[in-house]
Amino acid sequence: MARIGVFVCHCGENISATVDCDRVAENAAGLPGVVHSVDYKYMCSDPGQTLIREAIREHRLTGVVVAACSPRMHEPTFRRACAEAGLNPFLCEMANVREHCSWVHEKTESTTQKAKDVVRMLVEKVKRNEALQPIKVPVTKKAVVIGGGVAGIQAALDIANGGHKVLLVEREPSIGGHMSQLSETFPTLDCSQCILTPRMVEVAQHPNITLWSYSEVIGLDGFVGNFTVKIRKKAKSIDEHLCTGCGLCTQKCPVRKIPSEFEQGLGTRSAIYTPFPQAVPNKPVIDKLNCTYYLKGRCKLCEKVCPTQAIRFDQPDELVEVQAGAIVLATGYDIKRADFFPEYGYGKYKDVIDGLQFERLASASGPTGGMIRRPSDGQIPKKIVFVACAGSRDPAKGIEYCSKFCCMYTAKHAMLYKHKVHDGTPYVFYMDIRAGGKDYDEFTRRAIEVDRTQYIRGRVSRIYEKDGKLIVVGADTLLGAQKVEIEADMVVLATASVASQGSEELAQIVHVSYDRYKFFSEAHPKLKPVETNTAGIFLAGACQAPKDIPESVSAASGAAAKVLGLFANDELTREPLIAAVNRMSPPQYSTCIGCFLCQPVCPYNAIEREEFKTRDGRLIKAVARINPGLCQGCGTCVALCRSKSIDLFGYSNKQIYTEVAALLDEALV
């Protein structure tokens, strides 16, 4: 016979302010099957949990309902408490009377009634709960890191140094990401590539890291500890084992005028290319869209000059499947470009550029050898205007958030400009200056006080060209919204930082949630910033939200720590809230009729065929069987089954129907 215990939490004032907890507990005591009903101020605290444990032992409870916050908050806490007292943890349910009741309604009689209703529903449900045992699954101790920027590199190194194997997948021909494109980094003005390339080399040489560049993840199956990752290794058209990275092919290639992605369109590259001299791996790839051989069937100059005969035209893409236990997403960010700013002439006027393009101009290995020159005529600009917040914090442009690092890099750009053009004048139009990190504010003050950058608080309404100059029309709000017009030689827009291209598609492939700006969603904004709602998939870096380098590196190490925690066990225990096809004794064996209409709907391919045979091998019946290792408990097959032969533990038909009946049946009210 059922012996249910009900524990109503006050949650301090959170619940008791609007719900009369005493009366809810009182009402629960009168429900059929309830032998013990109390209320307490903080159920999740130590004394609260002790109350539950003692009640289980004293009253020989067969089920527990805790009316408190959301089960998404404390279900594990209370289930653990029950387990410690000897009650199967799956005989414990939570009634959500906080997030769904006390926090969203006024203090009225009907609010208390709602709480009573919810408790009643869960009491009826828990009476039909079954004692379940957790399922144990093995863990594949290998991680796949998607994205080879500074975050991906850091995560890969941390996991590898922790003693586990890592596969780093990067879609560009080289790792390094945007950090490799920067000239100097704030607040130290360290040369970006100087601090990054040693790490890149470490990744390439680490015994625990396998690096696949020019590769993309195209599919993900499985679940935490047991992922199957499908990867397309795009054809580089070279044999990597033979190529020595001598670079002769890139020098001889006749197709030279392709706008370089690395140089952000300000420089060119050849059809067979490495993106930058310090690329890792330092092996070229052939750009099939622009190579004369792939387009017209002629040339093959690279093949002729290669000293080790490493060129392999017609090399196919390779599709590979890899087993992994954890995935780290480190796909980074992009910046908003082109047609976004018709009022600033971005895309129309050559001398209006974005932040990354300025980095390439300032970079010593960039298209202008580190000198700041106008893209239109190569002249050195004497007046340069930086426009901060170009697109960010702007509901009209659809980007309401702050891109976080642009204030810092704008100050940096102004300083770099001034260091290179001593007689030039930099202007910055800003809304606010956000310099919250260590040494950050001192850095921006340096730009203003030492390098004499003119900071004007106001927005730019329009930029247009006149007589070879760019007229920047803005306002100075600190002088009472006075109009400011500057005849600039060059304009740099600090455009908004957005999710990397292809983020949405990748999120759908790996089943991770993302927000409306396509940044990946963390499991909890405060307490779980590097985890996602999908167990086993972690986030590192700017793919979650705009971040600067120190934050990306911290997040990457955080994600790596989670992965190492996951790999610390040989086995993972899984929640047994899965589906099962019923089995019974002969002659029926199961009510399943073997139609297998359930098989194609399972997203995890967890449904198998089981045959019942007589002793001499004759087939009696073929029925469906659900693999407990693969089933994730979504219940789609349960709802689909025509003969109702499948049921879901934890959300069985009996449990659900009685919840509904408990609420609506007049007899019980």
Binding site: F341, P342, E343, K348, R462, Y464, E465, K466, I471
Partner: protein, 288 residues
Amino acid sequence: MKLGFYPGCSVDGGSREYKESCRALAKAFDIELESVPDWNCCGASAAHNLNRDLALALPARILSLAEKAGMTDILVPCAACYNRLALTQHELMKDETLRNRISEVTGLGFKGSCSILNVVQWIQKYILPELPGKIIQPFDYRVACYYGCLLVRPHKVLKFDRPEDPQTMDEVMKLIGATPIDWAFKTECCGAGLSVSRTDVVADLSGKIVYDAFSRQADALIVACPMCHSNLDMRRPEINGYLKQKISIPVIYITQAIGMAVGISTKELGLHRHFVPVKLPEKTEAIK
């Protein structure tokens, strides 16, 4: 084909060449423009500043009358009237209580079923399909298309063209053989109603517009709004005074430009009514 038509006060008065050119163009393309019966002023100039209910009721009445007359598409040549009518429709369709209240004021029901077209949208939908075959004299000049402020803003309501660098008029002009220039004052304010009360401000603002078009070697300014036309054309003496320079580039309505291209007479198009004489340069190869 019969189409609804809301003339508004300006095109019946000081800007009647605009109406004349609209009607002439419609006739050339076999479109009959039927005025909304018993139409009233839309309140564009002052109403929205003084009384919200009045500002909504005046356009609502026009739209209700159009609906009653069975009109589905209405051409509204004046950009200000277009803006008020579209805004009113947007507000009333969003808020049922407001809609009911305004219906009480007008005494007429409001369904929001009319499609309100500005002159460029009208041209795109009804003139462009037949246009290629009818061009007799390509409008082979450099033109600065001036959109003004009301044609493309607020973008969330009007959902027409790009608010910061609109292209629709430029595209239409290209189709009749013109070369639209890229210039900086496409949507800058001309001074609007200050034409009467602060003509000096208009001289400054409109002067900048005219000067920019002139300095980029435009042969003509193309407009789609009687207010814009009036400030750029009628106030040219003040503009020239402000710029201390005599600039004679004409200001032509887009309907007139198309009319010229399909061979409608200057008299029918009302070109003789302009203050700045409509004199376009002789077509030579030197024009780039």
